[in-house]
Symmetry: C2
Subunit: 884 residues, 2 copies
Amino acid sequence: MRYVYPFREGDGSDRRLLGGKGAGLCEMTRLGLPVPPGFVITTTACKRYYEGRKGLPKGVMKQAAAGIRRMEKETGKKWGSPRDPLLVSVRSGAAISMPGMMDTVLNLGLNDETVAGLSSSSGDERFAWDSYRRFVQLFGKVVFGADDSRFEAMLARARKEEGADDDSGIGAAALKKLVRAFKAECRRASGRAFPSDPGEQLELAVRAVFESWSGERAKVYREKNGITRDIADGTAVNVVAMVFGNMGGDSATGVVFTRSPGDGSRRLYGEYLVNAQGEDVVAGARTGSPIAELKKAMPAPYGQLERTCARLERHYREPQDIEFTIERGTFYLLQTRSAKMNAAAMVRTSVEMKSERLISRDRALARLDPAMLEQLLHRTIDPQAARGARRLAAGIAASPGAASGEAIFDTRRAAELGAAGRDVILVREETRPEDVPAFFEAAGILTSRGGKTSHAAVVARGMGKPCVVGCSSLAIGTSSFRAGGATIREGDQITIDGSTGAVYAGRMPTVEPKMTEHFRTVMSWAQKAKRLGVRANADTPEAARLARRLGAGGIGLCRTERMFNGADRIGTFVEMIMAPDGASRARSLKKLGALQRRDFAGIFRAMAGLTVTIRLLDPPLHEFLPDPAELESRIRRMESGGGRGLAAARKMLARARELAETNPMMGHRGVRVGVTYPEIYRMQVRAVFDALASQKGKAARPQVMVPQVCGTGELEHVRQIFDEERRDAERRHGRRLNVAFGTMIEVVRAALVAGDLAGTAEFFSFGTNDLTQGTFSFSREDVEAKFLPEYVEKEILERNPFQSLDADGVGRLVRMGTEAGRKARRGMEVGICGEHGGDPGSIRFCHEAGLSYVSASPHRIPIAIVAAAQAAIAAGAGRRSRAR
Amino acid sequence: MRYVYPFREGDGSDRRLLGGKGAGLCEMTRLGLPVPPGFVITTTACKRYYEGRKGLPKGVMKQAAAGIRRMEKETGKKWGSPRDPLLVSVRSGAAISMPGMMDTVLNLGLNDETVAGLSSSSGDERFAWDSYRRFVQLFGKVVFGADDSRFEAMLARARKEEGADDDSGIGAAALKKLVRAFKAECRRASGRAFPSDPGEQLELAVRAVFESWSGERAKVYREKNGITRDIADGTAVNVVAMVFGNMGGDSATGVVFTRSPGDGSRRLYGEYLVNAQGEDVVAGARTGSPIAELKKAMPAPYGQLERTCARLERHYREPQDIEFTIERGTFYLLQTRSAKMNAAAMVRTSVEMKSERLISRDRALARLDPAMLEQLLHRTIDPQAARGARRLAAGIAASPGAASGEAIFDTRRAAELGAAGRDVILVREETRPEDVPAFFEAAGILTSRGGKTSHAAVVARGMGKPCVVGCSSLAIGTSSFRAGGATIREGDQITIDGSTGAVYAGRMPTVEPKMTEHFRTVMSWAQKAKRLGVRANADTPEAARLARRLGAGGIGLCRTERMFNGADRIGTFVEMIMAPDGASRARSLKKLGALQRRDFAGIFRAMAGLTVTIRLLDPPLHEFLPDPAELESRIRRMESGGGRGLAAARKMLARARELAETNPMMGHRGVRVGVTYPEIYRMQVRAVFDALASQKGKAARPQVMVPQVCGTGELEHVRQIFDEERRDAERRHGRRLNVAFGTMIEVVRAALVAGDLAGTAEFFSFGTNDLTQGTFSFSREDVEAKFLPEYVEKEILERNPFQSLDADGVGRLVRMGTEAGRKARRGMEVGICGEHGGDPGSIRFCHEAGLSYVSASPHRIPIAIVAAAQAAIAAGAGRRSRAR
């Protein structure tokens, strides 16, 4: 088994085997760029290391020794030589970059003999002992787990004794003393003598790098960044001949981006340090000089750097992040990788590289990280201000954007103050549908419980309100919360950042988002490239207008119950639920119908010419009533205080209890309510027809869909109401009213009998949130907080299926349902609505499954459009490569 | 379109088209038996009637007129003749018998003129006017909806005036007056004159019969008896020439069973009335004489009756229920149908008809109604005593058998008294898992809420305890309930009948079931005929023994959590849940492990030589803790009373709240608990291995299965624990311990990825209860009480999918999962466990889907065995008929 590849022999495109850094070094060597000699130990060796209970696989060190011999030939230096010793760096490097998460050892090969050789070959004793000191310190820390702060303390003492400003002021004699002391420290930590044999040093360092793959830092990083085993399952080790940026005034080391990662502008961006090793730059111990100054200081190497940057960008067709070292005037490249940049820079470089003809339009789109686009769409906290600010806590970033206001704990009060024009942040342990009126009036929402798909998160995203959830370190009382040692009382100003999850005390300055020309350009490309329709989940005319501005091609999900939660109507809705007889229910429904007609009319106007899909009432009725426990305590207070409203409260409690359910998610809701209270759906359908009839000029194309359907019986039942109301409305308005009738497929059984449903439904809309719940028997609310994180951590599930559509289970149902539906009704429109509609991975699935459109929250529309374009491009590329 | 078939022309096997009664009349005519002439108007005509907004389909009355003309020829009488008029009866008759549920009109064709003809042709004026009176009364009631009690009142007055004991004592003159008065009453009810034209009479009567199909009584009957549209969708109308059992002392009418419906013995059983019409027998206005007496009274017709009975039994190979009339010594048959009989009679006739070589063994099995077998297995209330007893209320018959005892309302007290040897009926609004200890000790359970699959029902059935649920008319307080005007206080004796749902005050005498020789015979036939395995759901050695005695071939579902609910262990289990650290949890688990090992050992002994499938812990942990609301009020009482146990109660409340879930059915349960608390599953698996190791002689074959699995990750996780424990146990016991490892398929996703699961699981067991919940997104607890009945009533769903497996949805997943599993692992054992395992329709599905076995509650085992045999027979017959 081959585990070792010299840079000349490695395949620079095989990042999986060689790691990112190794592949880059091989590729640059192949391009003839000035890379020091060296070799890569593959990620396979690391994988074997873990499979084999942490033994280095057979042959690795033998192959490494052969690699060292080859380096001796290329450098003319000798491994362990007391005259001109070959020194190496040992660097980690996984398939996916995990900057700073794993370990590296420099100057390996030094011992009491070779240090003398380095001294004589370089003619600089201080340099040789400085390198030795660095080696022992890093090796001790990485291999023996010694405490770095003890080394640093000794170093500080030495600086003081020498009267030096920085480490470069410590003389050779002091350095010798330090090396001895450092070695003693290593012995303390490891219980063994410091290894002097370079071969043993190398083997220990390789093991240490492999170990760092499973270190806590690295594991957490992988989890947070979704780096699963199928993407990267071990680190490679790069063994590189040392070149020295710390060999005096004509030596330097630096990092440079080929374009600015902050704004994407086309200029070298980075910094360098004279007479220093790479670690100094990274550690920030010394402040580097701007890269532009290198041009004056070392014109020839700078020229080489500039040419190299251009060459690498041309080669990789991607801005690069480069490490280089200049040893006594000679320029060396130590690393290249694709530059990480912010959203603005990402977008700008796409546009500019395309116009420079460096990349095609497809590549300009494919290279975007769609999720990052969100940064460009929301009010953000002024980065200047954020730096020094007092962060109270960090929760889950649930709905992006920053908001400031008074912390208000009571829902009613929040709604009142908000309606009165005050900026309010609603602070709750968690929220329920009855809190929704306050959402409308609040500037932002903060909760201490729940995940990305908790009630607060979903509702806030639907409204485009900033929201932080699951901020578990907040201890929320009835009128204050404690966090980070501070107490925030009712009315105190706080700021939340729904893009990062941060919570601050006080009012932070924020910056308006601006939609740049570059952004508009990539969005127009994406609109052209995508095949999949992108529609919005929007329940209000405002949300509809926002979605349309962001590129939505219609509304895929308009949730009618959100409308009932407005402060001016929830009362009427509760009245309807509490109605003692049919007549009073009819009166309440009539009032609600008028409101709903107006709402629909507004949305239709905002969406003139586009499709608007309206979902009939979905939640169970008890969700609109107050929580029984809360009602009980209210009643208890009334009983001791005085009787006003007591009878009504008791009646409501009785009704709330009567409607209560053990598993409301699977209870009396959706079409089941529509069947038992047909008058509700009738009212809603009528409002749709009447709103359509009221439109002047170009009208929207409304569709009505039925939630929670499990079979044809339910659908036919509603269809009959729909047809009756259509006939009636057409008669009343004296004209045809075209409204399509369809069904949600969100109950598993609906996907299984989709062929039958297509006989009655003219379109399908997959509700993949609920479908995921039914397929996994996971109650989102319960499992996201409880065991899902553990499942993902233990790799029992690859990812949270509520965030990314589960292709094997839920996806299979989507494919089955789509196929059966279209078999029964050719060319039928089939979309998905819900959280997955804004997730790039899920959008790719939808493209591949041949769906007609996805529907996403307004603020995810640009993401969805770009992801849809990428899916089309990837599928095209796949087709092309298969055709070849 | 042909709507009318004279009896000579109708195909006697086409009950669907002609209805049961019509087909019988045609068949008997074809056999040359003495049936009066007549014709059938088909069920298709009825269907068209409803499709066409209740217009008689074109041509029906014309074809009927032709039928009448033919009858004129055969009888020699004349339709509307004032000399010798043809009179007819107009009788309903659907494909499935619905006795007494639809309408019939007799003596049609009479009017003021024809009555004179009847009078002269019969030579009996009184008879003629009596017939006319009967006609007007019945026609008025059926066609015009006149109030029968008003007719009856007039009749009673006439009897009084005439000084008559019964109607036969009313003279001709009085009858004439009555006819006039009845006609006036008809006019009052209908607003029109009484029709005198026989053709018009006939048309109105046909319409009325069609209308009676959708009458309230008929609809309710169909619903209760599962008569869906695909089985019968309309009634036929039989127009039969009248023959008169009321033509004097040589005339009679009667009903007879060819074998006794009470015990199945082979003798004519029935009664007859001299000088009467059929209605008199049915209405019970006069008490008939035993049929044996007819032999003496009218020997010739009796001989004809005997021969006819034998002939019909031979022809139909089924005991018959016959209506006959003797008109002046001439014997006529008016109806034959298969006799309805009780379970004992059903079983006995099967055995005896087989030994008489009247039927084959397959037919002897196929004719059984499996559900009725339950009657034979349980203690029942003495029918003698039940007749006069005071029934307090009627609930849902949830677990069969009768039980008497003190009504006890508090769970703890019920457990204590029961343990002390007292007979206790636990009375609760509903039950929770924490009530299970009381189930063990109670004689029976009575609840006022919940359906057939509520917690109380499922647990009681599992234990074989009599149980009545959903007895909504009980107003249950803390120590008494009110029902039927009475108040039952704590400690009062009550009796419940879990086979009928009845609740009685006091202690009722009960009868032991006896397993007759006939029963044993049919069971042994069924065991041989079936292909499907039948196993039991049993959690205790007692239940296992019972199941084995009833014919179970193993245990398909042993629910381990039931064991934790025993009074001697629930405390330890709660201790485990409340454990503050790993060490104390380990201590509790050790104690539980020892108990569980003993339980398993007992079950294995009872099932020596058979398979025992053990399901690891399934319910969420919070189900074992008291209800938070109850805890809260307990704490409030403690706070005011004194502090003992207060701290512990508060701690428990906190834990209960922490564990509480919004949708527990889809929450942290099953394997999800097994993943987060692996020590629980480890303890259980170890107990299985140790219990197996302790077996002497022929051992049971244990299997372990994992609940709530949604994918391979979970299964592999548990498999690892299982393999470790096996290795450890084999080392400790020094021998191989064969235990199969499998998975439940009860989460939809598991069915979708079954092929993958079969890589790790050695067998599958479909949990169709949960699978139904997931497929429909129906929470059983919530929807059975709320909208499911309405769904079935409105025909939105054909039947309750929790009672009868839904073939289109759930069944499709079962087939998909089975196929994929067996593709990955050839010949894999695949079963189903849960409520459906005892339902004949579902068992048939399981046979057809090729499953290995079904598992059912012990008391359903005989039902399952017979249903499995029937499925095999039906499939064989299907194969044979296809092969032909």
